[in-house]
């Protein structure tokens, strides 16, 4: 009896903690979500019942905001970054995982060490570099910057998944008659696919949310969604209802991708070896 009460108290405590965490995380999202559908006058009122409107979404796609252009830029920049980064990262990760290279540990550490440098330290050199190359305010510049930020992370993440593939499986394929490339294509890629997909989604999220470099090296043509939010800082004050609507548009793909990640992440963990 005593044990059962103790268990109920423990369960209750656990539930209360989870509820607290959920509230902390979800309240800002709720605030943005409700703000997106409120009229400007209602934004600062905390009332739960209001007449929802889609006018905010209409307005952000019209001049002077033209958010669809920013949406296109964000999609192209994040998409291209992932399309270029993932094959490169996969090949590098495979090499780090399977081949004993000269200065391997140093090279891997150097790649990872780029992640330890605060972005704000390297933003100015990048600005000067792109100015000299004539790439300021271009999507190409953003893709290049994102690649430099994302590749180390992607290599590290994919390497972890490839490390988990048993060497026996690859060696069996080599003896069965495969070349190294066939082993990678036929065996390693399908087995690491959940991991590679997870890395791709993480990279897309990083590139999609990137703000600091985008705000410095773009000003009109290549402006992305996160930077686009600053447009709503107008003379009449901060237009929270429009920021909320744009915020929803930024978040929606992230929610979708997070759900896919969850599914593949579990798959990646459970696929593993057959022993």
């Amino acid at each position: 009896m005593g044990n059962s009460i103790r268990k109920q108290v423990a369960d209750l405590f656990q539930f209360a903690l989870i509820l607290c965490a959920a509230v902390v995380i979800l309240v800002p999202i709720y605030w943005i979500a409700s703000g997106a559908f409120k009229q400007q006058v209602d934004v600062f009122q905390l009332k739960l019942l209001f007449t929802p409107t889609l006018a905010n979404f209409n307005e952000i796609f019209r001049s002077p905001y033209n958010l669809h252009e920013k949406l296109l830029n964000s999609t192209l920049v994040a998409g291209t970054t992932v399309i270029v980064a993932i094959p490169m990262a996969t090949m590098a990760a495979y090499s780090f995982s399977r081949f004993r290279l000269r200065f391997e540990r140093t090279m891997f550490l150097m790649i990872l060490s780029t992640q330890f440098v605060p972005a704000v330290v390297i933003v100015l050199p990048y600005f000067l570099l792109f100015r000299d190359l004539g790439l300021l305010d271009t999507r190409l510049a953003l893709v290049l910057v994102n690649l430099s930020l994302i590749l180390p992370f992607a290599i590290w993440m994919i390497k972890g998944f490839i490390d988990g593939i048993p060497l026996d499986t690859e060696e069996a394929a080599l003896v069965d008659g495969s070349s190294r490339l066939q082993v990678i294509w036929n065996i390693v890629l399908p087995m690491a696919l959940p991991g590679i997909l997870t890395a791709a989604i993480f990279c897309f999220i990083l590139a999609w949310n990137e703000f600091l470099f985008a705000v410095i090296i773009t000003n009109s043509k290549a402006v992305t969604m996160p930077v686009g939010l600053s447009l709503f800082h107008a003379e009449e004050g901060v237009l929270w209802h429009l920021i909320s609507a744009a915020g929803i548009l930024i978040m929606l793909p992230m929610f979708g991708l997070a759900m896919i990640i969850q599914k593949h992440f579990v798959q990646g963990m459970t696929l593993g070896a057959v022993r």
Binding site: T169, A173, V274
Partner: protein, 349 residues
Amino acid sequence: MASVTLKGITKRWNEFVAVRDLSLLIEDQEFLVLLGPSGCGKTTTMRMIAGLEEPTLGEVFIGDRKVNDDLPKDRDVAMVFQNYGLYPHLSVYENIRYPLKVRKVPKSLHSEKVRQAAEKVQLDHLLERKPRELSGGQRQRVALARAIVRTPTVFLMDEPLSNLDAKLRVTMRAELKHLQHELKITTVYVTHDQIEAMTLADRVAVMDHGIISQLGPPEEIYNDPANLFVAGFIGSPPMNLMKGKLHDNNFQHPNFSISINHEANLEEATLGIRPEDLILCAAQKGVLQGTVYAHELTGESTLTTINVGPDRLTIRGPKEFKINIDEAVGVQFEASKCFLFSNQTGERI
């Protein structure tokens, strides 16, 4: 079908020598077992035949062809791995078909060949399953079917039964033996299990510290061990070994002496005798005396362990035999069944 020849192969990783100047001729269609404890270099030797490791020194021949510089795929060998090495994302059918696919065997033949291989290992009803839906024994069969689907020149098997339970291991052992007899393919089999070695092999190469300690048919390895290592490794339970002196045709142990027809005089020698060559008797009638330490029934026989001075001897007896712990007993044996080894060199004398 072909012979495999290793000429003075050495494998070294920095200071560590895994295989040392090893030479071996494996005859065409022979079933050769590389037997030894962990770290003796048996798997490394096999991996050098497969092309998964490069010898630091020496040459590997398959048939008349030197294959040192050939990739694994060009050596025409098939290998069964300890952990099976199955492709978890492919079905059993696709797993078995994989060697045919990558070796560009005409597609029209795939289905028939896969089914033939699967039938040989009784897997034909499981072709649509994924490896994770199979039991250990079934997975092992998939690995075997994948190896036999394309009649390779040489089979390499790296402890293929070690992950199976004891009962299944016995069944699979018989199936392997039958399969090799049927296919007549040169086979190199790595194991640390001496029963597997004794039952499967045409010849056994007992390995220790990167060299072959003894090479010969199983009965020769068992009945005529060349050195202390082989004597102590082969047999379950292994040979009883007792240290003493050899003087004037007499082996002198701290607790007994026995007349042995041997001319050598050695201050440090070891006498070896198999458990089944010892007979328990009344204490006063034995060549040596001891007290019972343990008595075990294994099913088909009993094993009695007795303390004799500093040594412990194991004696195999009939299954009906019973005795109490701490009872004083005598042991009889014939000098002709004994083996003598030099402690200094470890070799038979």
